[in-house]
Symmetry: C2
Subunit: 344 residues, 2 copies
C-alpha cells in the first residue's frame, strides 16, 4: 500500500531510516515569498485557514520547493476556540486575540457543532492527500488542551502563561473541566482529520514548559493521554507525535505516560538527553531555528550534532520550534541538502 | 562571629536547617505599598538603584514586615551595561531599554571605571549590613553574562532571546569576547559587594533556558564558572548561589561545572529531580509565584510539596522566580508563617 513508501510513517513505527526524513514546523509560512503572495489575496488569517483552496496551496508550497517528507495541514491551534465561539481574531502585529473566558462561561461551553464548523479544514486535508506525492506523509495537528486553554483564559498570548496558571490555582475544578472538554473535542477533531486523509497527527503543547511537576502531570500529561487514548481506541493504527515544548526533564516519562508514538524535542533539549529518550522510541527535532537564519557554519554544525547523536535511531529531522519569518529560503534548501547527505 | 548565626550561610555550607530559612526573589518590590511609596519619591528606577538612602530603605522594608532570613541588595542586573555606557533606561510600561550593541562596539567596550561608577550600589551594601539584624544574611547579586548580553544585543527584553542567539551564531568570536568581558567585570563587582559587606552573592541567569546544549555549555556554564573561579580565588570564603532559570535537565551537572555552592531552582524544576540535585548540595526555591497570588489551598499545597521533598536536606526556601506585583502582602505573611511551621 501507498503508506509503506512514506518514510515518516516508517520512523513512527520505530524504524531507523537513513538519511532521516525531514519536515519543518511552520514550513508553510512567512519566510516563503509564495506564501506571502497567497496570504495577501486570502483575506484574514482565519479566512486563509478556512479556505480549502488557499490552505491547500500554502501547504503544498514548501513541498514543491523543497520536497519535504511531510506536508502539514495549514491551519492554527486556535480554530478550536474559534469553533467554540470565543471570537478569535488575528490582528496584524498583535498576535491572536479572543474573548477571555471565565468560570461560568467554561461550564456553559457548547461543543455541539464544533466538528461541523471545522469542515473546511477537513476538506483541506482531503484535497491535500489527493494532491500530494504518494511518498509524502500528510500530517494533521491540533493544540494540546493546556496550550489552547492558556489563550482562552487570558484572551491572548502571555509571558509565562501566568493568567492560566493563576486561574488553575484559583478554580481547579472549572479548569479541569475545560481541559477535559478540550481533550474530547480535540480527539474528535484529530479522528476527523485522520478520516479525511491525514497519515499521522501532531499535538502541540507549546507552553508545557511553564508548569510545575504536579501541574505538568495534571494539565499536560493527563489531557494529552486522554486524547491519545480516545484516538487510538477508535483508530488503532493512528500514529501520534506529541510535542511538549520546554518540558525539559519531564520528557523522561512523557512518551510512556501519554502513549505517543513519537515525541517532539525543542532545541533546548540536550542531545545527550535526547539520545536517552530515543532509546524508548522515535524522536523528532530539534535544530534551533536561529541556526537556519544564521546559515553557514552555525547551520552545518547544528545539523551535524543532531545527526551524530540521533541519526542511528528512529529520527524525524525537524526544527526545535517553528521556522521564523526572517529565515532565508536558500538556507532551508541547504538544510534539506545536508540532512539528505550532501555537503559543501 | 556574627555570621554563624545566619541560617542561610549555614545552609550554603551544606547544613540542613529546620525549618529552612526563607527569602523571596524580588521581595523588595511593587507588591508592597511601602515600596510603591518610596519608589514614587525616588525619581527614575535607576535613580532608586543609585540612591543608597532609598535603596537601603526598600531593601529593609520586607525584612521589617516579614523578618525574612535574608535581605537582598536592591539594584538591577542592568547596572552593568549602564556602567558600560550603553544608555540604559527604564520607561514605565516598556521594560528596560538600552542602545543595542554591534560587533565593533563590543570590541571597543571600555571597562575602566565600571566599579567606580557602581560605588553608590556598594555604599548601599555597606549601609545595609550595618542596619540589618545580625542574624539576617545580606545577599549581593549580579546578572550572569549570557542574560546581561541578551539585553545588550537586542537593546531590550525579547521572547526566547532570539536576537542574542542569532548574534552568537553569526559572530561567535565577538560574542565570546563580550561574555568574557562581562564575566570579568561581574566578578570584580561581586568581590566589591563582598568587601562592602555582602555575606553571599547570587548570580541570576534568567534566560539560560533558551540555550541548546552546546550553547548552554559555552554561554551559561563557561562564563559563570569563570566568575566563580575569580571570586573564590580572591575571596575563598565567599558563598555563591547560581540560578539558571529554565535550565531543566542541564541543571544535572551545573553545580559541579560552575563551582556554585548552591543552585537556584525555578518552579518548573520537578521536585523529584530537585531531590536528586539536593543530594549534591544546597538548593534554593522553588514555589510558583502564582501560588502566592492565589493564596489559600494552592499556596499551602505548594509549600507542603517543597517541604516534603526538600525539607530534610540543605534548603533555602524561595520562589521559583520573582514575586509579582499582584501578590497580596497577606499571602506572603501566610507563606512565611507556614514555612516556619505554623498552619491553619
Amino acid at each position: 500500500m501507498a503508506g509503506e513508501q512514506r518514510t515518516i510513517l516508517r520512523v513512527l513505527s520505530g524504524e531507523t531510516v537513513s538519511p532521516p526524513p525531514i519536515w519543518l514546523m511552520r514550513q508553510a509560512g512567512r519566510y516563503l515569498p509564495e506564501y506571502r503572495a497567497t496570504r495577501a489575496t486570502a483575506g484574514s488569517f482565519l479566512d486563509l485557514c478556512y479556505s480549502p483552496e488557499h490552505a491547500v496551496e500554502v501547504s503544498l508550497q514548501p513541498i514543491r520547493r523543497y520536497g519535504f517528507d511531510a506536508a502539514i495541514l495549514f491551519s492554527d491551534i486556535l480554530v478550536i476556540p474559534d469553533a467554540l465561539k470565543r471570537n478569535v481574531r488575528f490582528t496584524e502585529g498583535h498576535g491572536p486575540q479572543m474573548d477571555p473566558i471565565d468560570e461560568g462561561q467554561i461550564l456553559a461551553l457548547e461543543t455541539d457543532g464544533v466538528i461541523d464548523y471545522l469542515k473546511p479544514v477537513l476538506e483541506t486535508v482531503h484535497r491535500l492527500r489527493a494532491e500530494l506525492p504518494v511518498a509524502t506523509t500528510l500530517l494533521g495537528f491540533c493544540g494540546a488542551p493546556w496550550t489552547v486553554a492558556t489563550y482562552m483564559i487570558a484572551g491572548h498570548g502571555t509571558p509565562d502563561q501566568a493568567p492560566a496558571r493563576l486561574f488553575a490555582y484559583r478554580y481547579p475544578e472549572a479548569f479541569a473541566y475545560l481541559l477535559s472538554l478540550l481533550a474530547e473535542i480535540s480527539a474528535e477533531y484529530l479522528i476527523a482529520q485522520i478520516d479525511a486523509g491525514a497519515d499521522a497527527v501532531q499535538i502541540f503543547d507549546s507552553w508545557a514548559g511553564v508548569l510545575g511537576e504536579r501541574e505538568f502531570q495534571a494539565y499536560a500529561v493527563g489531557p494529552v493521554r486522554k486524547m491519545i487514548t480516545i484516538v487510538k481506541a477508535r483508530r488503532p493504527r493512528a500514529k501520534i507525535i506529541a510535542f511538549a515544548k520546554g518540558a525539559g526533564y519531564m520528557l523522561r516519562s512523557y512518551r510512556q505516560q501519554t502513549g505517543a508514538d513519537a515525541i517532539g524535542l525543542d532545541w533546548s533539549v540536550p542531545l545527550s538527553f535526547a539520545v536517552e529518550l530515543q532509546k524508548e522510541g522515535p524522536v523528532q527535532g530539534n535544530l534551533d531555528p536561529m541556526r537556519v537564519v544564521a546559515g553557514g557554519q552555525a547551520l552545518s554544525e547544528g545539523i551535524d550534532d543532531i545527526l551524530q547523536h540521533l541519526g542511528n535511531g528512529p529520527l524525524i529531522f525537524n526544527l526545535g520550534h517553528g521556522i521564523t519569518p526572517q529565515a532565508d529560503p536558500a538556507h532551508v534548501a541547504e538544510l534539506v541538502r545536508q540532512v539528505r547527505g550532501g555537503r559543501g
